[in-house]
């Protein structure tokens, strides 16, 4: 799915991601968590997948949840001995674990595991929905060399994998068998040395094509401004920490803005060629608006209405509160399912990663 306009703009996805993460981190109410999971599942089922899904998912969110939720609930139950409903008791002489094991602790651990699974699922969804090329483009332009390294590394992953398979076959023909850790040395060293040889060739090819670094890529004035900004941030932080002065926040904000300015200036200096422009459509605005609606309860609603977000099973389990208006705003997380073009048809995923990085 690399054709022009075949997916929502990456920044629109970032807005959606921020809204999803904000809600997930804030709430422990199981009813709202289930609602968010439903939204994620529907979006996942409906949106078309970018090339490379099979490559990018060695661990699905479902499997992640199946591993994490039992382990967090078990850990919480064994280490937190609070709650009215005692399931059984561990001998008191066991350090840290001894004491009553309660249903409430199990539930709270499971809720924390669900939140972790939700975070993983949200990030995975964005990885699946966007081609890797679009994710790489999210790297700010000021980090052009870093972006080039990322592109080189991603581009060479398939060939490195092929090289490893060739080395393994060649060693197998010679009768090499892997029995212990030392037997990996004859497999790893040719891979490393072959990689270094290719790096040499690549460096020559890049230089021949005009890729060269400047003697002083970042002007000294910009570096001085960064140093001053860091000093402002540290000074402001110490002012706030030591004396509780609100002016400290102002100094830190100034430092942050100055660093943002440096990034912007350096980004403008970075060479940038766009072969496939990512247009910003009205549907991207709609996605941003939906993200704002989903986050609205956290920012605008009176505290009394927001309270249902926070659920605490201790000391005894109670039925979690449910506010229909709040739930309705959360349904805005379904926006990608409605707004993504071609969301009814899902092409078969490719087994190779998308390596058509046309610009950084």
């Amino acid at each position: 799915m690399n054709r022009k306009g075949a997916h929502l703009h990456p920044m629109a996805w970032v807005a959606w991601l921020v809204a999803t993460l904000g809600l997930l981190v804030t709430t422990r109410n199981p009813l709202y968590l289930v609602l968010i999971f439903l939204c994620l599942a529907i979006v996942r089922a409906v949106i078309p997948t970018s090339a490379g899904e099979a490559w990018t998912l060695p661990l699905s969110p479902l499997l992640f949840g199946a591993l994490i939720v039992p382990s967090t609930s078990l850990f919480n139950a064994l280490s937190i001995h609070v709650g009215d409903t005692v399931l059984f008791r561990l001998p008191a002489w066991i350090p840290l674990l001894g004491g009553p094991v309660t249903l409430e602790a199990f539930v709270y651990g499971a809720l924390n595991g669900l939140v972790l699974t939700g975070l993983f699922a949200a990030f995975t969804l964005v990885s699946v929905a966007l081609p890797t090329r679009a994710l790489v483009r999210l790297i700010p332009r000021a980090f052009h060399p870093v972006a080039v390294v990322v592109v080189v590394a991603l581009s060479f992953v398939p060939s490195t994998l092929r090289q490893f398979q060739q080395v393994r076959e060649a060693q197998a023909v010679r009768g090499h068998r892997v029995r212990g850790l030392r037997d990996w040395v004859p497999l790893f060293m040719p891979l490393l040395v072959g990689g270094l040889e290719r790096a040499l060739q690549l460096a020559e090819a890049m230089t021949a094509r005009g890729f060269a670094g400047a003697d002083e890529p970042i002007p000294a004035s910009m570096r001085a401004l960064v140093t001053a900004s860091l000093a402002l941030i540290l000074g402001g932080w110490l002012l706030e920490l030591g004396w509780g002065q609100e002016a400290g926040y102002l100094l830190m904000a100034l430092g942050g803005v100055a660093i943002g300015y440096v990034l912007w200036r350096l980004g403008r200096q970075a060479p940038h060629t766009t072969y496939r422009h990512e247009p910003w459509h009205p549907r991207d605005w709609a996605m941003v608006a939906a993200a704002a609606v989903a986050l609205l309860p956290l920012l605008l609603l009176p505290l009394a209405q927001r309270m249902s977000l926070y659920y605490y099973p201790y000391p005894a389990l109670t039925m979690p509160a449910f506010d229909p208006a709040l739930a309705l705003t959360m349904l805005a997380l379904l926006a990608p399912a409605i707004l993504t073009p071609g969301s009814t048809s899902r092409p078969a995923p490719s087994v190779a990663p998308d390596t058509s990085y046309d610009s950084v």
Binding site: P58, A153, V157, M189, L196, A199, A224
Partner: protein
């Protein structure tokens, strides 16, 4: 001279802010005292300091990449990161026991041979590239990148000891790196705990809470670390040690050989100089 001073200032300030941001749960109660910690901003501290860590990481990355931009570095780094990311892919597909991770071996050895800046980029880039190919993007990524970057950045600290032992390309040099790998096996786990520890809530005496004394905070963190991470990190440290012990010597020799082969420079042709 001016560049060197600016570099020292940037490294110093980012390290200081990074340390403050990572270690604030331990010293905030001492600086502010219990009563003041119950103030309006106490609960916001973890989120606020997350922002500080991200700013530090951004500045450090800018400084490191700005000092060494050339085709050789980009190509070398790209290929080594690609190899290391595949190791991470293997780690996720076939999980080892506890915190065993094959990626730190190459970060430590390349940082040791090619210098701290290269090591920092190697650590940070490995984490982001492997996250992109394994779908491992998440709120933990900036912290992982920063901490893995620190692993590579600090690897050259072993060089004085190795020189003192006159240990180049010998088992003693590998032993120094094994020790370094063991230390970072525990340190990586302890640092990665600290970023989320204050955000975890629970009624037991293992969790951070604004307003409690330093002694109590340390006791709680110790209990939390022993219960959740110690065994995990033991596996991580042993894994690092084994990998460095087995692969260390041939890898050091190969990296040094290519260091000499990469020691050439392209100079633009200037007719006036000819």
């Amino acid at each position: 001279m001016r560049d060197r001073l600016l570099s020292v200032a940037i490294y110093g300030l980012t390290t200081l802010i990074g340390l403050v941001a990572f270690l604030y749960p331990f010293f905030i109660p001492v600086v502010r005292g219990g009563a003041a910690m119950q103030g309006a901003h106490a609960a916001d501290a973890p989120y606020f300091l997350t922002l500080l860590v991200v700013i530090c990481f951004v500045v450090l990355l800018l400084e490191v990449q700005g000092q060494a931009v050339n085709a050789k570095l980009v190509a070398l780094l790209g290929i080594l990161v690609s190899i290391n990311s595949l190791l991470r892919f293997v780690e996720i597909a076939i999980p080892g026991p506890g915190g065993v991770s094959p990626i730190f071996f190459l970060i430590i050895v390349t940082g040791y041979v090619y210098g701290g800046r290269f090591g920092f980029l190697m650590g940070a880039m490995t984490l982001i590239v492997s996250a992109l190919i394994t779908g491992g993007l998440g709120p933990w990524l900036p912290y992982q990148m920063m901490t893995a970057g620190w692993v590579g950045l600090t690897a050259p600290l072993c060089q004085p000891l190795a020189r003192w032992l006159r240990a180049e390309n010998t088992g003693r040099e590998v032993a120094v790196l094994v020790l370094f790998g063991v230390v970072w096996g525990f340190l990586y786990g302890a640092i990665m705990n600290v970023w989320f520890w204050p955000l975890v809530t629970g009624p037991a005496d293992q969790y951070w809470e604004p307003g409690v004394s330093l002694g109590e905070i340390l006791r709680r963190y110790y209990a939390f670390y022993v219960a959740t991470s110690f065994v995990w990190d033991v596996f991580g440290a042993v894994g690092n040690a084994l990998l460095i012990a087995v692969f260390g010597l041939p890898t050091l020799r190969a990296l040094r050989r290519f260091q000499r082969r990469f020691a050439f420079d392209y100079r633009p042709y200037r007719p006036s100089a000819a």
